[in-house]
């Protein structure tokens, strides 16, 4: 009886220990991965010898795999709408949304100059991971929070970024739901398209 109890006890403890080790691994992996990516990106930005277009293309190839643009688009649209629209519409929307986010991210890069990016320790929030980082310039500290989730196919991916406390997804959500309250989904697509061309 006692033996049996001990066995269960050890199993539980081992499992718990193992899972923490696993978690710790995942957490430090993510930190490591971001450190590397951000490092590469900042080096590229600071390197004035590379032409802007070429530089942007390179940055894009580093960043794009980190984001799950598909999920971000779905979340921005909201479950209700996503369920209502057709497969073709979903595809068109995802494509436009991906471009839009990428574009806006890239345009913000020019604002970056000589800040130091500090990556803090990642935090586990339920089954997701938040990675707090901040930009330091003189004495000012500006927070950027990357939110990761574990995708079945591609592992840990970013699904949202909070910049100075403002969530990108949340902003899109309020914006899209505002438009959809009055206009059709087709109109929303039109707006995304026209933004893309401008």
């Amino acid at each position: 009886m006692q033996h049996h109890f001990l066995k269960i006890f050890f199993t539980v403890v081992t499992f718990l220990t193992l899972s923490t080790i696993l978690q710790a691994d995942e957490l430090s992996d993510i930190k490591q991965m971001m450190k590397q990516n951000i490092g590469e990106v900042t080096t590229l930005i600071q390197d004035k010898s590379v032409a802007k277009a070429a530089r942007d293309r390179e940055i894009e190839t580093i960043i794009t795999p980190l984001f799950d643009f598909g999920l971000m688009g779905r979340l921005s649209l909201g479950k209700q709408t996503w369920k209502k629209i057709s497969k073709e519409e979903r595809k068109a929307f995802s494509e436009l949304f991906k471009n839009r986010v990428r574009q806006s991210y890239m345009s913000k890069l020019d604002l970056y100059t000589d800040e130091v990016v500090v990556i803090d320790d990642p935090i586990k929030v339920k089954n997701r991971i938040h990675l707090p980082t901040h930009l330091m310039r003189k004495n000012e500290k500006r927070d950027v929070l990357y939110k990761f989730y574990k995708s079945k196919k591609s592992g840990w991916m970013i699904y949202d970024v909070d910049i100075l406390g403002v969530s990108i997804i949340q902003t899109y959500r309020t914006q899209f739901s505002g438009i959809l309250k009055k206009e059709s989904f087709a109109a929303l697509l039109e707006k995304l398209k026209s933004n893309e061309n401008s």
Partner: protein, 831 residues
């Protein structure tokens, strides 16, 4: 009964009566110094007005401080080094004053485009005109082009700039007012407990004390600011403006009018008395009675803490005039008796004078009181107070005149009547002759005049323009005109828009979920939790609405400056390479904006927790074409009809609305007041003469002057406002006196020989004189008000003279003609 009262008491112990009266007046005189003048905006508002509550709530919610504005027009250019130095010195001196919180001027407002820098760089150190490296030419351009500064901080010609003096807000006053309002509400509902009743009394008292103190310090503050301004007049023209200055200056005008016109009217009345009667007695006795009447009334006002306001500021002149009319009727009657009964003793003469005049005078005073009492139904505290004040004042006058006059005259030796000059011309005779010979022509003319007046009445406007209260030569007018025309308008109006509440997402029915949705709910939950955080409030949908409403309001020609979140969006666009800030940028801005900027540029215009936005408008008060009521209606209608806002989400607030409500209430109460007065007077005439036809004739006679008054105002474009609105009730109240005296006398004269024509001639010859005398005295008295610097007082004087003139003509021409036509008096079988 009156006979025995006078012969047994007053006329028997006249000295004791005078002594007692002297003691009473002395006591009241000691209270007279407590009388207060209050002309604050608060006194003019409807206390039961729901919009007042709303406006106060809005001003609490959006933290709008009280401001005073100095319009500064230098001789040199605004960006000249010396001019900037002077503005800087002026600002410093103002800032050093104890009531001044801060001063905003072209020197310390942020310049964001001089020169244009990347947003990030600019936010690190926002330049101002006082910064070293600022480009002044660019700064000038920015001040002239910026959506916030143009037509607000600088005039379009760049010659005038505004220094906004932000006053320290008095938290105790706000707290006390909230306490008072809460308890008053309970009091009205009748749900005050005993304990609360006590605290209500205490709060009322503390509130009043605190407000009085505040009024003094406000006044001192304005004096201080004016003194500071004096030091800077060498190189620039300076004018002070702002709501609290207007009310402070109004108090000064009212006080000045009380002093100056009270005494000038008194002086004029002395002259009139001398001209009419030509003896010292008949000047001194009336002056004595007038003086003690005023002292006693002011004493009672002081004792009960009733405050004189802009509206009731004329009460001294009014009371003087009405009292004089009572006295003149007594003197004329005494002299008439002296002439007809030369053998009667002084006591008999006085007794008959008093007893024969007491009934018509009593009724005449009663009708005047009725006229004033009808003001009680106006719902506006100062107008109600004027009604009560005057009713009380006239009662005091009646009481004192009927005690002092007999008590003094009985002590005097029988007054020798001067040999009347042989008069070839007598106005009353002319009136009687016209009535007899050309009565029908006059009747026809009257009908034409009334028709003409009715057309004029249809043109009557209800407007209340502060700027037009002051003559164009006064400093206050010039200051207001500059601020009005060059710096974005005067009267504040707030447009408050509620955004529709976000619809709750319906709980989705469980449907077959495919793979894609398996994770969805979890994320949805996470996002829903932060959905209502303040920074996500700036959705493009809301911002679009804000811009739409802002552009609409700005397009209205009557509106001077509009500042709202829309102004900030516009500013943001100009900083963002002419691209509108998107929701994400706005959210970032909201989170990142330092609190001192947020307090200035966001807090006054948005209330995220209430899902509401505020547009702060200033209306150009000096615009002649401005129809305030119509403008408010148009804004409300257009926001609903053209911009598709739900009616329950559109609210108008602030001074403009409150004054308009007051005016509309005045207008409807005017109709009610007049209707009520006509009814009251008809009943009184019926009671006095026991004849329906006499009552109708009397009312027609008195409605003619009112129709002319309103007709004249309509044709002349004089608006009905808080001052002119009281004229009709007051004039009729006074004019009716003459009608009563005439009819009363006519009835007596008719009883002698039942000859309508002869009775008319005799009435004109006797009471007619008294009527012409009193009317002349009243008209002369009111004419003096024309000299006032306060325009409402001028109108008040002019219009009352007009009404009195028409009333006198009506009483001496129309009334006898109607009597001759209808023949309402029955032959009394007993006579």
């Amino acid at each position: 009964m009156i006979d025995s009262f006078y012969s047994n008491y007053i006329l028997r112990y006249p000295k004791s009566v005078l002594l007692l009266l002297f003691l009473m007046v002395a006591f009241l005189g000691s209270q007279a110094f407590k009388m207060e003048v209050d002309a604050s905006a608060e006194t003019l508002l409807l206390e039961s007005d729901k919009d007042l509550e709303f406006s106060r709530m809005i001003s609490e919610r959006y933290h709008t401080p009280d401001i005073l504005v100095i319009a500064y027009t230098p001789e040199a250019s605004l960006i000249d080094v010396d001019v900037l130095k002077d503005i800087s010195a002026l600002s410093d001196e103002l800032r050093a004053l104890p009531m001044v919180d801060s001063v905003t001027s072209i020197l310390n407002v942020p310049l964001m485009q001089s020169p244009k820098k990347p947003l990030k760089e600019m936010l690190e150190q926002i330049p101002t005109l006082s910064s070293k490296d600022v480009n002044k030419t660019m700064a000038k351009y920015e001040l002239l082009e910026s959506p916030i500064y143009k037509n607000n901080l600088v005039s379009e010609d760049f010659k005038t700039t505004a220094l906004m003096i932000n006053l320290k807000s008095d938290k105790t006053f706000r707290k006390l007012r909230l306490q008072r309002d809460a308890l008053r509400l309970k009091d009205r509902e009748g749900s005050l407990s005993e304990e609360e009743q006590k605290s209500y009394k205490r709060v009322l008292q503390t509130f009043k004390l605190h407000r009085d103190m505040l009024r003094l310090s406000d006044h001192q503050n304005i004096e201080n600011i004016r003194e500071v301004m004096e030091h800077h007049r060498d190189h620039a023209k300076l004018f002070l403006g702002g709501v609290s200055m207007i009310s402070d200056d109004m108090v000064s005008f009212v006080k000045e009018d009380l002093k100056v016109y009270g005494s000038i009217v008194l002086f004029l009345l002395i002259v009139v008395l001398w001209v009419i009667f030509g003896t010292l007695h008949w000047v001194l006795i009336p002056v004595l009675i007038l003086t003690v009447s005023i002292i006693s009334t002011v004493g009672v006002l002081g004792m009960f803490g009733w405050e004189v306001t802009v509206i009731s500021s004329n009460f001294v002149s009014l009371q003087l005039i009405i009292t004089l009319s009572i006295i003149i009727h007594l003197i004329v009657r005494y002299r008439e008796l002296l002439a007809t009964k030369p053998n009667a003793s002084q006591k008999q003469l006085v007794l008959e004078t008093v007893t024969s005049m007491s009934k018509p005078t009593f009724f005449a005073v009663l009708t005047t009181i009725a006229g004033f009492t009808s003001l009680i139904f106006s719902d506006i505290l100062p107008v109600i107070n004027l009604g009560l004040m005057m009713s009380m004042g006239i009662t005091i006058s009646l009481f004192l005149t009927y005690l002092i006059f007999p008590a003094i005259v009985v002590l005097l030796p029988k007054l020798v009547l001067r040999e009347p000059k042989k008069q070839t011309y007598s106005p009353t005779k002319v009136f009687a002759t016209i009535t007899e010979r050309y009565g029908n022509v006059f009747l026809f003319v009257t009908i034409l005049v009334v028709l003409f007046s009715l057309v004029g009445t249809s043109k009557l406007m209800v407007e209340n323009s502060f700027i037009n209260y002051f003559k164009s030569s006064t400093e206050i007018y010039q200051g207001m005109a500059i601020i009005d025309k060059k710096l974005g308008g005067t009267t504040p109006l707030d447009v408050i828009i509620d955004f529709p509440k976000p619809k709750e997402m319906p709980i989705s029915e469980t449907v077959e979920e495919d793979d894609e949705f398996s994770d969805f709910d979890d994320f949805e939950e996470e996002l829903a939790a932060s959905e209502n955080e303040a920074q996500y409030w700036f959705t493009s949908e809301r911002m679009h609405k804000v811009k739409q409403v802002h552009d609409y309001l700005e397009s209205l020609p009557e509106v001077g400056k509009v500042i709202s979140l829309g102004t900030m969006l516009e500013l943001g666009r100009s900083l963002n390479d002419e691209k509108c800030l998107d929701s994400f940028q706005l959210a970032l801005l909201y989170n990142e904006l330092p609190s001192e900027f947020r307090e200035i540029i966001l807090d006054p215009y948005i209330s995220i927790e209430n899902n509401q936005t505020r547009f702060s408008l200033r209306i150009v008060d000096s615009n002649e074409a401005l129809r305030r009521g119509a403008l408010l209606e148009k804004i409300q209608k257009d926001l609903i009809g053209k911009l598709g806002l739900a009616p329950e989400n559109v609210h108008l607030s602030n001074v403009m609305v409150l004054y308009n409500n007051m005016l509309q209430s005045l207008f409807s109460s005017q109709i009610l007041t007049l209707g009520l007065m006509v009814l009251l007077l008809s009943v009184m005439f019926y009671m006095l003469f026991r004849s329906l036809s006499v009552a109708i004739i009397a009312m027609i006679t008195n409605l003619m002057p009112i129709s002319v008054l309103f007709g004249f105002m309509g044709w002349a474009g004089i608006p009905l406002d808080m001052m002119t609105i009281t004229i009709a009730a007051i004039s009729v109240g006074i004019a009716v006196d003459n009608t009563i005296h005439y009819l009363y006398r006519y009835k007596k004269e008719f009883a002698i020989d039942h000859d309508y024509i002869q009775a008319m001639h005799r009435s004109h010859e006797s009471i007619g004189y008294a009527m012409v005398y009193t009317s002349a005295a009243i008209m002369l008295g009111f004419l003096v008000l024309v000299l006032s610097a306060f325009v409402p007082t001028i109108y008040f004087g002019l219009l009352t003279v007009l009404t009195m003139l028409m009333a006198t003509i009506a009483d001496l021409l129309l009334l006898p003609k109607l009597i001759l036509l209808v023949k309402p008096f029955k032959v009394d079988k007993n006579s």
